[in-house]
Amino acid sequence: MKARHKRFAIIGGGLASLGIAAFFVLNALNSNIALFFTPTQIAAGEAPKDRVFRVGGLVKTGTVQRNEMTIRFVVTDTAKEVPVAFTGILPDLFKEGKGVVAQGKMGPNGQFIASEVLAKHDENYMPPEAKHAVDQAGKTAKTLMQ
């Protein structure tokens, strides 16, 4: 084995072991790296009790209620739901049926008291006409099913 082959082997081996180490570290930190808890995780008691954390999911359609400055809505991951109350200004992309991440604490009556609400955008980009067509198709499908 020539010296340079040896150096290649050392670099390759080093990178491989580093990769494996990184994999284990990230695996161990998995729950800490996640930005938010889903309603299902909260229902299973995985979220911290008396500490600030984030809940993420979709704003359930038809649940947004405005009462002066306080906004109430339900965050769902289609399996479980968490009711959220928030006083403040919502981001532009906050919409029913769209993604949302709220930061705050769990209240005594199972309601999540948010201090900050962020909108989560999805990966779809389309012009308004295309969006309109998609919405229309969705509505037609719904009417047909009824």
């Binding site: 150096r7 670099i11 580093l18 930005l35 989560k120 955008h121 389309m126 969006k131």
Partner: protein, 246 residues
């Protein structure tokens, strides 16, 4: 066959690469300008408004391209640094040093444009989610690489120290790429992937791809320009440089 290999490795020497880089440079600059004009025209004037984000989505024409380049350039930098470490070839290490500032610029652009977009869309400039944090680490890796090399006076030792840092940091690149898949993040998932059709309108996609190509050409041009300067600086005691400068 044998002839071809020798011919190829000829450009591994700084002396023969210097004029070659000089010849290639104007072509890449021209391509970058043309692709940039085409991409910006398509992105800012032709591409339709986004249904939910309005005009603000147009950030993607620089943000996505810069983010891709920041990751790709890091991989290329680590590759050349590794080759330089293993084969002791001077030009490879010079290439790694030449790539670093452009890579840092791309990482910075990605973070900066992302923050500008995040404030109106998400409602925050910054959030410590996996995608944003790992991209910030990438910027720090670039800056660390540059600082480490600048701190060591002897070029060959600086190359070696930098190469080890660059190789260790390469672990971060797949973490950035897959962060939105592995963990839940505020940052959205990929709009373009190998396995499914892109989830965006065609003109938007073309604007984005042209801008990505533009930044490729820009990065190559800047790297060639910088590597020429590094070659002259490091080889300044050799005869051919004295000739070339005169």
């Amino acid at each position: 066959m044998n002839n071809k290999i020798i011919h190829w490795f000829k450009f591994g020497s700084p002396q023969s690469f210097y004029p070659l880089a000089g010849k290639m440079l104007p072509w890449f600059v021209a391509l970058a300008v043309i692709l940039g004009i085409a991409g910006l025209w398509l992105g800012l004037f032709v591409a339709p408004t986004d249904a939910t984000q309005g005009e603000g989505y147009r950030i993607i024409f620089i943000h996505v391209a810069a983010s891709w380049m920041s990751m790709f350039l890091y991989a290329v930098m680590a590759f050349w640094a590794g080759i330089g470490l293993a084969l002791n070839t001077r030009l490879s290490s010079m290439m790694a040093s030449a790539i670093a500032p452009t890579g840092a610029l791309m990482a910075f652009l990605s973070l900066w444009t992302g923050a500008l977009w995040g404030k109106p869309m998400w409602g925050t400039w910054w959030v410590w989610d996996a995608r944003l944090t790992s991209e910030l680490i990438l910027l720090f890796l670039y800056l660390g690489f540059i600082a480490l090399q600048a701190a060591i006076d002897e070029p060959r030792r600086a190359d070696k120290a930098g190469a080890i840092l660059a190789l260790v940091g390469v672990v971060n690149v797949p973490i950035i790429a897959f962060s939105v898949k592995w963990w839940n993040t505020l940052h959205q998932g990929a709009s373009i992937s190998m396995t499914k059709a892109p989830s965006m309108a065609v003109t938007m996609l073309w604007g984005m791809l042209l801008m990505a190509l533009c930044l490729w050409m820009y990065s190559i041009a800047m790297t060639l320009m910088r590597v020429r300067a590094i070659i002259l600086e490091r080889e300044r005691h050799s005869d051919w440089v004295k000739h070339a400068v005169e």
